[in-house]
């Protein structure tokens, strides 16, 4: 209940702030659609690879970067400190702050992937896995957003502090488009963003090996990475500015 109350307030704040609105809603949408005709992703080959790249970019811009920026702004305004003096639980506050951005990203994803399906004349082989890939990616990006916000003093500073995380996500998302077997492939799946690409590719293109075998490793590794990021963020996250 309190999470819904906070989510409603957060949605109002996003809609009323032009910078956040552009970063969270418009920029990822334009990027996602433009990727459909990009020579970089054209080389990836399959429609699944394109969808995976689009999803990674949408989640990175719409969730990871925007959550980092938004949390830094809310903390700077002492809004987070005030919420901590309310009866809202930590989980409600986190859910209330993150869920509107997750919802916006979900809508963007639906739009962008619909365009991709239309342009490529294909459809996801396993739509339920696509939902799982989105959920997995959203949790990972949100966890890294909170973690990055832990050491981000202001929304302006977020433009710098998101760079390492964004670089890692892009390496994870794009590198995975190149086939790799053995221990190297396992390690690569643990890179944030990599599992998202692997899951989405399987979800869209299907797999000859049966998808349970194909998704078990990236799913387990990415969940472990997301949980680890969330635990570290919970330990490091500051609800008020450093004094």
């Amino acid at each position: 209940m309190t999470a819904l109350t906070l989510a409603a307030a957060e949605t109002r704040l996003i809609l009323r702030n032009r910078t956040v609105l552009v970063t969270a809603a418009i920029l990822p949408l334009l990027l996602g659609i433009s990727l459909a005709n990009s020579p970089v992703t054209a080389g990836a080959g399959t429609a699944g690879a394109l969808a995976a790249t689009q999803l990674a970019m949408l989640l990175m811009f719409g969730l990871f970067m925007t959550i980092t920026m938004t949390l830094a702004a809310r903390r700077q305004q002492l809004y987070l400190k005030r919420l901590r003096t309310s009866p809202a639980s930590t989980a409600s506050i986190v859910a209330g702050l993150a869920s509107p951005l997750a919802l916006i990203t979900l809508v963007q994803t639906a739009i962008v992937l619909a365009v991709t399906a239309w342009e490529s004349g294909s459809a996801p082989a396993h739509p339920e896995l696509l939902v799982l890939a989105f959920a997995n990616g959203a949790v990972t990006m949100a966890a890294f957003g909170f973690l990055t916000a832990s050491f981000t003093r202001s929304p302006e500073a977020a433009q710098i502090t998101v760079i390492p995380g964004a670089a890692v996500f892009m390496i994870g998302a794009f590198w995975t488009l190149v086939p790799m077997d053995g221990p190297g492939g396992v390690l690569r799946s643990a890179i944030p963003g990599a599992a998202l690409t692997e899951l989405t590719t399987v979800a869209w293109d299907g797999t000859p090996d049966g998808y349970l075998a194909a998704i078990a490793q990236p799913l387990l590794l990415s969940t472990a990475v997301a949980v680890a990021a969330a635990l570290v963020a919970a330990r490091l996250f500051r609800w008020q500015p450093r004094s």
Partner: protein, 311 residues
């Protein structure tokens, strides 16, 4: 009143609280208790340790040692349970600038699962600004909105950190009125302020903090009584040699007589007797206890090792 299970313990109990920032001790073995319906004022200059004491008592900071208990519970560990019964007015308001005044009040009452209380905006003279975004409010208006949010939850305990800073005189008086109403309803109030008149006007008990320690404690009357009172007058005609023997110290400047004394009544009586007997008019006669301003000024000149914690 938004009550949680009542404990036999006082609403606020702070014992030997010590807080450090690295090697710097911001609060040094501070102790006080606040009862139901009592307004306790923590006075001190900037950096005296008032806000750190308050934030630790609220549970926003962990003490290096000592304890803070609110309604018998550790505020650091029972934040959510206490949040319904404890209101906080911070030095900075912590509002989301893009929400309107009405939306901010509604968000707060919704988070506390309370019915909307739009009438509170009337009480703090913000009803006409209900649809204005908080970011467009003046500093004083933000403070008044903060007060409305605190009052909205009918708290058992209110922590107010310099709630009238930046307010105009009318708003200050309105704030004082609301604080009085809350204490009359039984709310325990811990107020930090550097306005001495505010403490004198509102507080049942006062603690003066200096360099992290409580250096004076008591009612305003008790504290001022331990300092020299002052009698001033302009005797006409004035012959200093004819002055009666007084317990206090006398000073004469520009025809004005000033007597600083710990025996106000006796010295005043002697002066009045002398004036009546010798036919002296005591123009502009004033007899008053030491003001908190003077006590503050005196404390600031004392070295740290001469100011000991009293309670």
């Amino acid at each position: 009143m938004n009550a949680i299970t009542h404990q036999p313990a006082p609403p606020v109990e702070v014992r030997d609280l010590t807080c450090r920032y690295g090697a710097f001790t911001a609060v040094d073995r501070v102790s006080f208790t606040v009862g139901h319906g009592e307004l306790f004022a923590l006075l001190g200059t900037n950096g005296a340790g008032k806000t750190t004491t308050l934030e630790t008592a609220i549970g926003l900071r962990r003490p290096a040692s000592g304890t803070a208990r609110v309604l018998g519970r550790d505020p650091g560990r029972h934040r959510r349970e206490l949040a319904g019964a404890v209101a906080v007015i911070g030095q900075e308001t912590g509002f989301a600038d893009d929400l309107t005044v009405a939306e901010t009040l509604k968000l707060w009452t919704d988070l506390h699962r309370l019915a909307p209380r739009a009438e509170l905006l009337e009480r703090v003279d913000l009803a006409h600004r209900a649809q204005v975004r908080v970011g467009a409010l003046s500093g004083g208006e933000r403070r008044r909105l903060d007060l409305a949010l605190a009052a909205a939850t009918d708290p058992e305990v209110l922590f107010a950190d310099e709630p009238t800073t930046g307010l105009d005189p009318a708003s200050r008086r309105r704030t004082w009125g609301l604080l009085r109403e809350l204490t009359e309803q039984g709310t325990a109030v811990v107020l930090t302020t550097h306005y001495l008149d505010e403490a004198a006007e509102l507080a049942d008990h006062v603690a003066i903090m200096d360099r992290g320690r409580i250096v004076r404690f008591g009612t305003v009357a008790e504290i001022t009584a331990s300092y020299e009172a002052r009698i001033t007058a302009r005797p006409e005609p004035f012959d200093p040699i004819a002055l009666p023997a007084l317990a206090g110290r006398t000073a004469i400047a520009d025809g004005r007589l000033t007597v600083r004394t710990t025996e106000l009544q006796r010295d005043l009586h002697r002066l009045l007797d002398w004036a009546a007997r010798d036919g002296v008019a005591l123009a502009d006669l004033k007899a008053e206890p030491a003001t908190l301003d003077e006590i503050f000024a005196e404390l600031e000149t004392e070295p740290a090792d001469r100011t000991g914690a009293l309670r």
